[in-house]
């Protein structure tokens, strides 16, 4: 296969397109995507990869003017192909699961508020750990908005990817990341205000 510089790729993929450059790019994307998907997809790997590459090629050709030349062109193109494929795979995996399914059910041990337990029956270290978890629980309950709480629990408890949570909350991935970032900063400060400890110090109590 012909080695090309970034400038040559751009020149040959812009109109009038060079068919050989297009065929070479397609081959590169197919090889890379197939390798990355091979341990995720058991059946119809070739056909599924072909479909993703077709979608990715259209996106790449439409976005050529956004390539800033800060990486190899083929790395940039492969990044788009991976994004197209993995976004769709995540959508398929989570499409039938609602946020309520995650926030109203729990597979593991549900945290019990402290008033339900008798601190005198638990060893001292365990009691102080429970106290700290109670603080975190209360801060999530009182300091966050409903949307922040739903987003954080859906991601950290349910394991739902942020792009799929965003889709179900009718927002986009970037806006949701900012919402969650604001929530984390708020909890960080509230934890310090209410306990005098940073999150790192509280975490250390569990990891000693």
């Amino acid at each position: 296969m012909t080695q090309r510089t970034n400038a040559e790729w751009l020149e040959q993929l812009n109109d009038p397109k060079d068919d050989q450059a297009l065929a070479d790019l397609r081959k590169i994307l197919l090889r890379g995507l197939r390798a990355s998907l091979s341990n995720r997809i058991n059946t119809d790997l070739d056909a599924i990869t072909e479909d993703f590459v077709q979608d990715a090629l259209l996106k790449i050709l439409k976005s050529l003017d956004t390539f800033r030349g800060e990486s190899r062109f083929t790395t940039w193109a492969q990044k788009i192909a991976i994004h197209v494929a993995y976004t769709e795979l995540r959508r398929r995996r989570w499409k039938d699961i609602s946020l309520q399914d995650i926030t109203e059910t729990a597979e593991g041990e549900v945290f019990a508020p402290a008033f339900l337990t008798d601190p005198s029956t638990t060893p001292e270290r365990e009691a102080s750990q429970n106290d700290m978890l109670q603080v975190v629980y209360d801060l999530i309950d009182t300091e966050l908005t409903d949307r922040q709480r739903t987003a954080i629990v859906s991601i950290l408890q349910g394991g739902m990817p942020i792009d799929q949570v965003a889709r179900k909350m009718n927002t986009n991935r970037n806006a949701l990341y900012k919402l969650i970032h604001d929530a984390r900063k708020r909890l960080q400060q509230a934890l310090m205000d209410s306990t005098g400890f940073s999150a790192q110090e509280v975490l250390a109590m569990f990891e000693q």
């Binding site: 296969m1 492969q78 549900v110 709480r149 739903t150 950290l156 408890q157 975490l203």
Partner: protein, 84 residues
């Protein structure tokens, strides 16, 4: 809302690495190809692009795509070496 004990610990862990300034997924996506090429060239991208490094630690889908990109490029590189 039911919150599991392990979720509270995960919240604590995410708070422990929360920074005042962070990158969104879109900003990370714009720079991750540069980050990966630096890795391939034996450079230390974490020093030049610390916000990308940090975002990849906090965001599982972006991390997943980064790791997939590394695998994909390695496969293409190996093929090129065989062809060359």
């Amino acid at each position: 809302m039911k919150i599991e004990t392990t979720t509270l610990k995960k919240v604590l862990r995410s708070l422990s690495i929360t920074q005042e300034e962070e990158m969104t997924c879109g900003e990370c996506f714009q720079q991750v190809d540069m980050y990966v090429d630096m890795l391939r060239d034996g450079k230390s991208p974490a020093e030049v692009l610390p916000l990308v490094e940090h975002h990849l630690t906090l965001c599982p889908p972006c991390r997943e795509e980064f790791e997939a990109l590394v695998v994909a490029l390695r496969a293409v590189d190996e093929d090129s070496e065989i062809t060359d």
